[in-house]
């Protein structure tokens, strides 16, 4: 299937990347469909009701994976941006660019499902709880990162700018997150709405949840690979067009 290469940086060559991506995309696609449908069907139909939250606990099977991805995609973008700035691999930059939209959608759906879940359990769709606030902050930085790509044409310069924006954004996102946490834990004894998600969870929910997380991660990887491939081909087309038109 996939041969292990000596050096991970060989992925950075767009042509190597394309040939590998072409091989593994169908495989990933099938795997995604299997795990996602398995996890969701298991979660939706074959889990018991929570004694405290009733059947609304079933929302966990999409809320937690999307929230998990929303945060980790931003980390991945940060990593890819740093790699681009240091080693100048185009695939890395394109990966950061392609991941941003998926991350935005994941953030939105995590917030949406959270709001729907929050209404019956906490009695409100939205509260300025630290966790929710940090998601709002994350959303703003995703929007900022996407808007730089929306307004400017693809070039190495814009790549540099967007990478710096990503780095600066993550510094300030972390700062704001801790600023919010500082007040709610240290000085201000606010009402704590956030649930302990992983700790008091029962085995009956644990396994389908893990499968759902794996399924969503695979979904992200598949989409990411396809988007990177498309983006590389777009740049190829541009180069060809430029060569033809002179």
């Amino acid at each position: 299937m996939i041969k292990f290469r000596k050096n991970i940086w060989e992925f950075a060559n767009p042509n190597n990347f394309l040939s590998i991506a072409n091989k593994i995309i169908p495989f990933f696609l099938i795997l995604t469909i299997i795990t996602l449908s398995l996890g969701l069907v298991w979660g939706l139909f074959f889990t018991p009701e929570d004694y405290r939250q009733g059947s609304s606990v079933k929302i966990i099977f999409i809320h937690v994976p999307t929230a998990f991805l929303a945060i980790n995609i931003y980390f991945m973008m940060l990593l890819a941006s740093i790699i681009w700035l240091i080693r100048r691999h185009h695939v890395s930059l394109i990966a950061a660019k392609s991941a941003a939209l998926i991350g935005l959608i994941m953030t939105l759906s995590a917030m949406l499902t959270g709001a729907i879940w929050g209404k019956p359990i906490w009695g409100t769709y939205w509260a300025w709880d630290p966790r929710l606030t940090s998601f709002a902050i994350l959303l703003m930085f995703y929007l900022g990162y996407l808007s730089i790509w929306q307004t400017m044409k693809f070039s190495d310069k814009i790549g540099d700018l967007s990478s710096w924006l990503c780095i600066v954004g993550s510094i300030f996102a972390l700062l704001s997150r801790y600023a919010v946490f500082f007040w709610n834990q240290g000085l201000h004894q606010g009402p704590s709405l956030s649930l302990d998600k992983e700790e008091n969870i029962d085995n009956a929910f644990y396994f389908p949840l893990i499968i759902c997380i794996i399924g969503f991660v695979l979904l992200f990887l598949t989409l990411l690979l396809i988007r990177i491939k498309t983006e590389i081909q777009k740049r190829k087309i541009n180069i060809l067009l430029n060569a033809r038109d002179g």
């Binding site: 969701l40 939706l44 009701e49 009733g54 059947s55 609304s56 079933k58 929302i59 999409i62 809320h63 999307t66 939209l101 998926i102 959608i105 939105l108 759906s109 949406l112 499902t113 729907i116 879940w117 209404k119 019956p120 979904l219 989409l223 396809i226 988007r227 491939k229 498309t230 081909q233 777009k234 190829k236 087309i237 060809l240 067009l241 033809r244």
Partner: protein
């Protein structure tokens, strides 16, 4: 079959909402990929014609 007691509506709407959001990415990715594929093909044909 799709009856989860008290919170049926919430569960269904959150599943449908999430997957319609995800569907936006999937569809846009797919359409993009298709368009690029076609462009690349046309371009190659053009190049052949030029020669």
């Amino acid at each position: 079959m799709l009856d989860f007691g008290k919170y049926t509506f919430e569960i269904l709407i959150s599943y449908v909402g999430t997957f319609s959001l995800v569907a936006i990415v999937i569809v846009s990715t797919y359409l993009d990929a298709r368009k690029v594929k076609r462009d690349l093909k046309n371009l190659n044909i053009d190049n052949l014609n030029d020669k």
